[in-house]
Subunit: 164 residues, 2 copies
């Protein structure tokens, strides 16, 4: 099974008037995310489902992926909010779904959560060893055998500037 | 300091007549590596030096990078041969050079050595958690402070198909 961990695009700064969860993508963030989505499409990528953090900047990023027809399924997922636990997500969300070994999911969220999730999947613990830029992607292969933590492999980590 | 670990391109299979160290890039391997080199160039990448394993397929890959004018300096480096030790390379090759913190080196070599080197730099030990395809690249930022093992960060890992 493949997981694509995608960080939201460039967003408004937080101010006293805009709550963190309401921060929107900027025009630049929207355009760069659209370019990333089109490159995914050109490369033939598609996802069985796109899961997004409930925060506005992540939802808007996920909606760009959906409007580029990278998936027909979009789902808000509270585990992808900042400080969400990957162990809870795997136990309470992923396992009950019983996806096929060839399934491919996109998870849209935040830093440092996503790169920490990647490290826990691959090396069993998070050590801040990965740099995931806004609108950047990490690609991970999840093996069929359990336990998955510490036994996944990373095949892709890219900032937008080396991709679009 | 930035390190770009680049795996050699697609090479001939070993046969009873061709020794492993003499295996050349195939025509397909040469073309794909040229495309990777041109994308590096288009992105504005350049290297203070390109180090290569002494094996033919790695040298030929490094020569393609040189002919694309990604560096003016090419050096054979026995530490990059299969089973070369990154700890020896850092102690005996890198430290005596006293490169500036903004230096940028390309290291052309083999698997699983290169992805193991990356893991040792980032997480302190190799666990086969990275997939580095032929003509693929790993980008690593080395901090100025020592020790470097277990304290580097990865900002890029790409197979050619998601890059060229």
């Amino acid at each position: 099974m493949e997981l694509y961990l995608i960080r939201h695009g460039i967003a408004q700064e937080a101010t006293s008037e805009i709550r963190d969860e309401d921060r929107s993508l900027t025009e630049q963030g929207r355009k760069k995310t659209q370019k990333v989505a089109r490159r995914f499409k050109d490369l033939g990528l598609s996802f069985d489902s796109i899961l997004t953090s409930p925060l506005a900047r992540a939802q808007q990023t996920a909606e760009i992926l959906i409007s580029t027809e990278l998936s027909s399924q979009l789902e808000k997922c509270s585990y992808l909010a900042p400080n969400g636990s990957i162990k809870d997500w795997v136990e309470k969300w992923l396992k009950p779904k019983q996806y096929s070994p060839t399934a491919c999911l996109a998870l849209v969220g935040h830093e440092p959560c996503l790169s920490n999730w990647a490290e826990i999947l691959i090396w069993g613990e998070a050590k801040d060893g990965l740099v995931l830029k806004k609108a950047g992607t990490i690609g991970i292969e999840i093996p069929e055998t359990l336990p998955i933590f510490g036994s996944c492999q990373m095949f892709w980590l890219t900032p937008p500037r080396y991709f679009i």
